[in-house]
């Protein structure tokens, strides 16, 4: 299966779900999809296209929060990235951990750093932050403010 055929099949199959399709370089493709259809897309690309899940990245933009899932198909040298845009006040999306166990820890990290809620995740615990970090404060958000009174932030010169 060559690259153009794979992309054409993906576009045909998920015609109503794809919002934007950006062919950046011969090796990378960015596809933006609706948040409701993430489980179907992941199921399709894992089972039928035999792709491999690399990582998921998340960031906090000015008016929305977004997650990008990166999948690789190694035989044709292609990296597909699915971008999902979420609401900024209460970001919420279906978890892909029931399909793929490898996404367990990255979803825990996205939950504690940015406050994204994953519906259906089996084990949502704290992963990287300290045990005495207060609840509800998300460090990687745009509007994070220093809450610790005892922190020393000047160099003392």
């Amino acid at each position: 299966m060559i690259r153009e055929e794979v992309l054409r099949q993906v576009q045909e199959r998920f015609k109503d779900d794809i919002i934007d399709f950006f062919d950046k370089t011969p090796k990378r493709v960015f596809i933006e999809i609706k948040p409701e259809s993430i489980t179907e897309v992941v199921q399709y690309i894992l089972k039928e296209r035999a792709a491999r899940f690399n990582i998921a990245t998340a960031l906090d933009a000015r008016y929305h929060t977004e997650i990008i899932y990166h999948f690789t198909i190694e035989d044709i040298n292609l990296l597909i990235s699915f971008r999902v845009k979420l609401d900024k006040k209460k970001p919420k999306i279906d978890s892909i951990t029931p399909i793929l166990e490898g996404a367990n820890w990255i979803e825990r990290e996205m939950n504690e750093m940015l406050g994204i809620e994953f519906v259906g995740h089996p084990d949502m615990r704290r992963l990287l932050l300290a045990d005495d970090w207060p609840e509800g404060i998300y460090p990687l958000r745009c509007d994070y403010k220093e809450w610790d009174e005892k922190a020393i932030r000047d160099r003392g010169i």
Binding site: L129, A130, D131, D132, W133, P139, Y144, E146, D148, K150, A151, I152, R153, R155, G156
Partner: protein
């Protein structure tokens, strides 16, 4: 000098402690023990347990999780011990000064005797720092006896 100081300085045993570093300073400390920049000629050997240590080599900027463990470890060391802070991260957190996970520099948690700047410091700099500290303690001891 008296027997306690002599036993402490003639062959100080070294313990290497990393509180969340990027491991670059740890590689340079390991380089010191290789035959090229030999510190075993001063009698310094890597101790297996912290209770056998005379000199503590600390790298890395202390984050919230490792501050708890560092305090517990420092209570287990048998004093007198000399703490050497290696690298920019342990001097004053370096570039992580505004990070959410590193609230205080290392001096505020445990008392530090020697500071070795550099990112990472060369093995020659680490050896020079430790030797200077040994000379300084010997001179202070001699001055006290007079």
């Amino acid at each position: 000098m008296d027997i306690k100081t002599k036993a402490l300085l003639k062959s100080p045993w070294v313990f290497h402690l990393s509180t969340g570093s990027c491991n670059n300073c740890d590689i340079e400390v390991l380089d010191c023990l290789t035959p090229r920049f030999d510190i075993e000629r001063f009698g310094m050997i890597l101790a297996g347990s912290i209770k056998h240590a005379d000199v503590l080599l600390v790298t890395g900027s202390c984050n919230r999780q490792s501050a708890i463990r560092l305090k517990r470890l420092y209570e287990q060391v048998s004093k007198p011990v000399f703490v050497v802070a290696i690298g920019e991260c342990s001097l004053s957190r370096g570039m992580f000064i505004h990070s959410y996970n590193c609230p205080v520099p290392l001096d505020k948690i445990i008392p530090v005797d020697v500071y070795i700047p550099g990112c990472p410091p060369k093995p020659e700099a680490i050896i020079a720092g430790v030797v200077k500290m040994i000379e300084k303690v010997k001179a202070a001891d001699k001055a006290k006896k007079k």
